[in-house]
Symmetry: C2
Subunit: 370 residues, 2 copies
């Protein structure tokens, strides 16, 4: 008969692509005893979360919720609600998460076309406009902050305008960007943006913020077929969040934590928060240059929340990463796909984006690099 | 500019259909700082959770996980992984959650047939066997503990054997039953059973335990089409849990809590736990009889974790329920559907199933009833 001991988890300094660390306030909020999914206390929290999420997404969209799933459930919900079998979608792929968007859309029975950029590059407006001219697409999807490469897709306002000129709805993945760099849903004209609680927002994983434009809402409500996923049907979410009709048993614990993380965003202020993420990233970038592990992405579209650092010649990237974890309790991540042995991925998101974490990581790398 | 105050949630005594209360140990475990979704510390927790879930489901199934979603995501995953468009499914409906199974299957493009029992009744083996004879069904689905009525479907071993004789895989909803009454997955021959973390297990909401027989696993791996939901594809879950291949960012916080709740189940012992749920339920039932609000379901298939109590003549059920919440901080639930004004639903699940809660509820009802 096995023995199950007291939980004894080694604490980590989380400087990977997510989860990031949760602040003491967020952890304390989560430790509040759970209440019911229709308790007036939880419904009041939803009201606050909606206002705080609209502030963060920079939108007036009535349909602004947090889904009961991880960031991947946000991607799944965006595509599953907009696409019906046979609908055409164009996915702009500049890294792994673009590929995932395309795979999800294929599984949903859509006609999927892609345009691609090599890992570490981003799209011009012209390239996307040319692809949009090929045929009529119902949806155009793109990733804002590619967690697999560390690149920020720029020109999103012009890209969304081009998509609308060609009749497509715009889906934007803001899983890594929301909370660390500006996401201007209304100004850019994004139709659905989704994110995750555990990256630049600094809450534990398990909720996926999502916002839906009135245009996308209308498209969803005009579908010929029901959304194939009952669990992620946004109509049912809207009825739960706005009309308090039972749909699923949301986790009060995770909402306590998300509300507190969003409150911290509100108190800090968006501009100050973005500046903090940029300031600590710049310190990291300068230190990596000095160590001979310079950032992989050019400065003009390099992401503050997620840096890919080139592995210096002669260094075993995975062995060094293992030593960082074992000897310093610092988590960073390997590169993704073709970049697996070429870069490390270093996250400075949410509560992880602090001077002491940058200083420690650079000092540890200095110790470990030959 | 609105002000967002410190979280100040009114604590409740949760005696509804779920969530149930979380023990101090479970809440303390959840307040451990999060770690990464591929951290060796979290992977070790998954190993323990699998062993503890196999113990609880009474199964040897290799595919035994906890999905990153609520109980509804477990239902969604069971159907979405087994059913392909055009596949035939028979759903035995004896309450709302049976209806939900049928609706989900319809949305997935299956050919759905149902057999139904009036609310508060259950099926005989003969009735199900007769329905199974109509045609060849790929899947037969039924709810073990109908949270909408308080009825336990009996004879599950014989029912599953009948389904197998007719070539159907058996899906069993154990959302309310797992952790409070026996669920014998292997002995009964169930192919997929799913549950929820926040009912009889006593953890916060947000995870859906699921177990998949080798026969169902083979059926999933032989599909002609990919599972339409990338998020809930059980092949990808198996690769994450067993081979540690990235799929989504699971919530370490929720797994800390679920592991602790499962450890409490292990320490208590299954038989003692089932006896505790039965003992407190019997006290409740006797008290309800005395108060003139007797249980709605006959004793031989009445559920210990969820009691439907008849609203006495002349009592406004929703007004009384509101007073219980406002004056005593006790949550119970209204009836569902046609039973909305006829019964209350009272849950005694997990950590909520304690003598002091039963005594308090009965005393409060005594105060409030005319």
């Amino acid at each position: 008969m096995p023995a199950y001991h007291d939980l004894n988890v080694q604490e980590r300094i989380l400087l990977g692509p997510g989860p990031s660390m949760a602040s003491p306030r967020v952890i304390r909020a989560m430790a509040t005893p759970p209440i019911g999914h229709l308790d007036p206390g939880l419904l009041a929290i939803y009201e606050e979360e909606q206002a705080l999420l609209r502030h963060l997404f920079q939108t007036e969209n009535p349909w602004t919720f947090a889904l009961s799933g991880t960031g991947t459930s946000g991607m799944q919900a965006a595509l599953a609600n907009l696409l019906e079998p046979g609908d055409a979608i164009l996915v702009a792929v500049h890294g792994y998460f673009g590929q995932r968007l395309a795979e999800m859309a294929r599984r949903l029975g859509a006609e999927v076309e892609t345009i691609e950029r090599p890992l570490g590059e981003i799209f011009t407006v012209e390239a996307i406009e040319a692809a949009l001219s090929r045929r009529r697409y119902k949806v155009f999807a793109i990733v804002h902050a590619e967690t697999s490469t560390g690149a920020e897709q720029l020109h999103l306002g012009e890209i969304a305008a081009a998509a609308h000129r060609h009749g497509a709805l715009v889906v934007l993945d803001t899983v890594t960007s929301l909370g660390s760099i500006p996401v201007r849903v209304d100004a850019w004209g994004v139709d659905i943006a989704y994110s995750a609680s555990q990256k630049s927002l600094g809450a534990p994983a398990g909720l996926a913020p999502i916002t839906v434009s009135p245009r996308a809402q209308e498209a969803i409500q005009k579908r010929r077929t029901s959304v194939s996923s009952f669990y992620l049907d946004l109509n049912l979410y809207a009825r739960y969040w706005h009309d308090h009709a039972y749909h699923h048993t949301a986790s009060a614990s995770l909402h306590y934590a998300l509300r507190e993380a969003l409150r911290e965003v509100w108190e800090e202020g968006l501009e100050a928060r973005f500046a903090r993420h940029r300031r600590h990233a710049e310190t990291l970038w300068a230190g990596l240059e000095e160590l001979g592990a310079p950032p992989f992405i050019p400065l003009d579209y390099r992401l503050p929340p997620l840096t890919t650092a080139r592995v210096p010649a002669g260094v075993q990237p995975h062995a060094l990463r293992a030593r960082l974890l074992e000897e310093y309790n610092i988590e960073i991540a390997a590169g993704f796909g073709a970049l697996k042995d070429k870069v490390w991925r270093i996250g400075l998101m949410g509560y992880s984006s602090r001077a002491e974490n940058v200083t420690l990581l650079l000092a540890a790398l200095r110790d470990l690099l030959p």
